[in-house]
């Protein structure tokens, strides 16, 4: 069962499904007390960032 869990975690990490949770964890650790973005706002700004550089190849 633990490898299934690991696989699921890996899949979420690779696809970016868990990006918001990671961001929240980072905010709590690095800037405790500061207001964090909402899930939607975070996701929107992430997409802007991701697709503004070269991230697909031939």
């Amino acid at each position: 069962m633990s490898w299934l869990k690991a696989l699921w975690r890996g899949l979420r990490a690779v696809s970016g499904d868990d990006a918001y949770e990671r961001y929240l964890a980072h905010q709590r650790r690095a800037h405790p007390g500061a207001a964090a973005l909402s899930r939607r706002a975070f996701f929107q700004s992430e997409l802007q960032r991701k697709w503004s550089g070269i991230n697909r190849c031939c």
Binding site: G10, D17, R22, K50, I54, R56
Partner: protein, 693 residues
């Protein structure tokens, strides 16, 4: 000790498999030989060469904090588990290139392309990707252009920028041509490719508004819809009035792709680009795994000879001798300069430990090279007659099925019009003659592999699934490329006129996107009206451009190695650089000065002008001729510019190296000073948790 032993076993098996491939001349060879040789060679390269480079040349320091750790912002700089970074990086570098190149290069036989894919990747492509990744990681994830500017000087940076922009335009054009040729007069393919657009929009809205950020959910729904789209395409094809609606010719499809590319570049990314990015990534990984399983399960025999008579330069798919053109045709899969842009962008900001560059840089490229080997297998398991019938333009073999079959059989590759009609029927198409571009022949190969493994009755569905699979990430590359090209253009023009450089100023967005689309749209349109298929001209141009970008990247890497006092290891990147300089310059020279109209751009233009003047062309060909003549001349000049840029960068690098050797001052290293990592005190899994959960 155990490692050594495994290494010896790998070396013996690999040498045996490679020897088997090279010596099996007159009888069919099993695809498993190629797979075995590939796996052994990649494992050896990874285990020994990459490890040696990491330890000796880079002096990788696992206790040194990476930018992901030092600059961790929870977003782009995040220490991430190495397998997750590997997945990201592989998804970014693996595009349609390694599928199309080997398919076209199969006209020389399976041997030359296979050897170049294997050797070129372990000694060249993987090394390039890993080196650029390492150097960028030591410089806070700076881009190739910035590194060129910082380490060589302003000229190197400018050359890298111009080179990138030009290759992007050629790349998008040739990929657009591949999609258009795959959809031409095929209602089924056209519908299933068109269907990907509303599906992506739907998923975009879902992931943005309905369930924000639930990427996996959205992707699963999207994948199911895509499969339904392929199934619906079959129904549309059988329903006459609807079928006719999606039965479109090359020029109208080209206009559609051009218009679509422009719209996709100016609407918000969350709506179309990002959701299709997810879908294409998952589809790509799924198909690659499925293909590997199927090839091992059915162990097909390769029907293509090891070498064909076309090594002498008379090939029908593209002109030019085996040297240098096999090395130009297969760029992605062996050495791809474009990868240097990925290796110096997003990826270095995720690396948690310096030692991970071997897996991420070298390993991802080895896997991409393996994809190229599978594409080579899919192309060469077809009857050679069928392969040439699908991939050769009507202008070369004749417009009617009977004429084409006779020409190809005359080359010694027997095929009949009846055989092709039966194959087309099995694949759910009206005809498979002259479907140039590589995608249809790859789809036929993949359909036969999947059909034998997972059900023969579904051949037509597998064929169109394979086409949709190729089209979906070609469209992703087109959109993403147009968008990046737009940013570059805005940046470039913004240096002269400030408002244009504001990336969110809408007039600038619209105009810059239109300019980029016009650039690739022009080459795409010319390719579509070319009776020889267009790919014969555009693909070599793309190959030359991509290899030249690799030469620029390797020049930057070699220059930095020499500056760091590692002259004695400069051959690690200098060797591949020398080889690329030789092959690209030779190819460029031949494309410019050759008197063979099949090969040289200028002589091709002159030949066509001569035929036009003599009145020997059909009315349709005569109407297109002036554009084709102009285009061939333009291509020749582009080749001249590419070559000049590359040699100027190489000379610039040698100048820096010479100053370094004489002890003269050079630009100071832009490497970030060492800081002790705190991540490494914790066990490895902890690092994974930090980034991965």
């Amino acid at each position: 000790m155990l490692g050594r032993l495994i290494g010896i076993v790998l070396a013996v098996v690999g040498a045996f498999a490679l020897g088997g491939i090279a010596l099996h001349r007159h009888e069919p060879i099993n695809a498993l030989w190629l797979i075995t040789a590939g796996v052994c060679i990649y494992a050896l390269g990874y285990r020994f060469y990459a490890a040696w480079i990491a330890a000796r040349v880079f002096a990788v320091d696992a206790t040194r904090a990476t930018p992901a750790e030092r600059l961790n912002n929870g977003r782009d700089f995040v220490p991430t588990h190495r397998w997750v970074v590997f997945g990201h990086h592989f998804a970014a570098i693996a595009g349609p290139g390694p599928l199309v190149g080997p398919t076209l290069a199969a006209q020389f036989g399976y041997l030359p392309g296979t050897l170049w894919i294997l050797i070129g990747s372990v000694l060249g492509g993987c090394v390039q990707d890993m080196t650029i990744l390492f150097l960028s990681m030591r410089r806070d994830g700076r881009s190739l252009g910035q590194m060129a500017r910082d380490e060589l000087g302003p000229f190197g940076g400018f050359a890298a920028l111009i080179g990138t922009l030009m290759i992007m335009i050629i790349l998008i054009a040739v990929l657009g041509l591949v999609v258009v040729n795959a959809m031409k007069h095929s209602p089924w393919a056209t519908f299933s490719v068109f269907a990907t657009i509303p599906i992506a929009l739907l998923i975009g809205v879902y992931v943005q508004n309905v369930r924000p950020g639930r990427v996996l959910e959205g992707t699963v729904i999207g994948l199911i819809l895509l499969l339904l789209g392929v199934a619906a395409g079959g129904w549309i094809d059988q329903t006459p009035p609807l079928g006719r609606l999606f039965d479109m010719g090359g020029p109208s499809l080209a206009e559609f792709v051009i218009g679509y590319g422009w719209v996709a570049a100016i609407i918000p990314v969350w709506l179309l680009l990002a959701p299709r990015g997810y879908l294409s990534t998952f589809l790509k990984l799924g198909v690659i795994v499925l293909l590997a399983i199927a090839i091992v399960a059915i162990r097909p025999e390769l029907k293509m000879p090891a070498l064909t008579q076309f090594v002498d330069g008379t090939g029908p798919i593209f002109g030019g001798k085996i040297f240098p053109f096999v090395f130009i045709t297969i760029a992605c899969g062996s050495v791809s300069g474009y990868h240097a842009l990925i290796s110096s962008g997003t990826t270095p900001k995720l690396i948690a430990n310096e030692a991970d560059v071997r897996l991420v840089g070298y390993g991802s490229m080895a896997l991409e090279s393996f994809v190229a080997i599978m594409a080579m297998i899919a192309a060469t398991l077809l009857d050679p007659g069928v392969y040439f019938a699908i991939n050769t333009g009507a202008g070369v073999v004749g417009a009617t099925p009977a004429a084409a079959a006779a020409t190809i059989s005359g080359w010694g590759f027997p095929v009949t019009a009846g055989q092709m009609a039966a194959l087309a029927h099995a694949m759910g198409e009206h005809t498979l003659f002259a479907r140039t571009g590589g995608a249809p022949s790859l789809a036929v190969g993949m359909a036969s592999i999947f059909g034998s493994t997972f059900g023969r009755g579904l051949l037509a569905a597998w064929y169109h699934f394979a086409l949709m699979f190729e089209a979906i990430f070609i469209l992703t590359t087109i959109d993403a490329g147009t968008r990046v090209g737009r940013f570059m253009l805005q940046d470039l023009v913004g240096q002269f006129w400030k408002p244009f450089g504001r990336t969110s100023w809408y007039p600038s967005v619209v105009v810059a996107s239109a300019a980029i689309v016009a650039g690739w749209g022009y080459f795409l349109y010319i390719g579509v009206i070319d009776p020889n298929g267009g790919v014969n001209i555009l693909w070599p141009l793309f190959g030359i451009a991509n290899q030249m970008l690799a030469a620029i990247a390797l020049s930057v890497a070699t220059g930095i190695l020499i500056k760091c006092g590692k002259l004695r290891y400069a051959w690690v990147t200098g060797g591949p650089l020398a080889w690329l300089a030789i092959i690209t310059t030779t190819a460029a020279w031949q494309k410019i000065v050759s008197t063979d109209p099949h090969l040289g751009f200028f002589s091709g233009a002159a030949d066509l002008a001569h035929k036009l003047a003599a009145g020997t062309l059909t009315p349709a060909a005569a109407a297109a001729a002036p554009k084709l003549i102009f285009n061939q001349q333009l291509d020749a000049w582009l080749t001249v510019i590419f070559t000049l840029i590359v040699w100027l960068v190489i000379v610039d690098m040698l100048r820096v190296a010479w100053r370094c050797a004489r002890g003269l001052p050079t630009l100071t290293s832009s490497e970030t000073p060492r800081q002790l990592s705190r991540l490494q005190e914790a066990p490895r899994l902890q690092t994974a948790g930090e980034g991965g959960s």
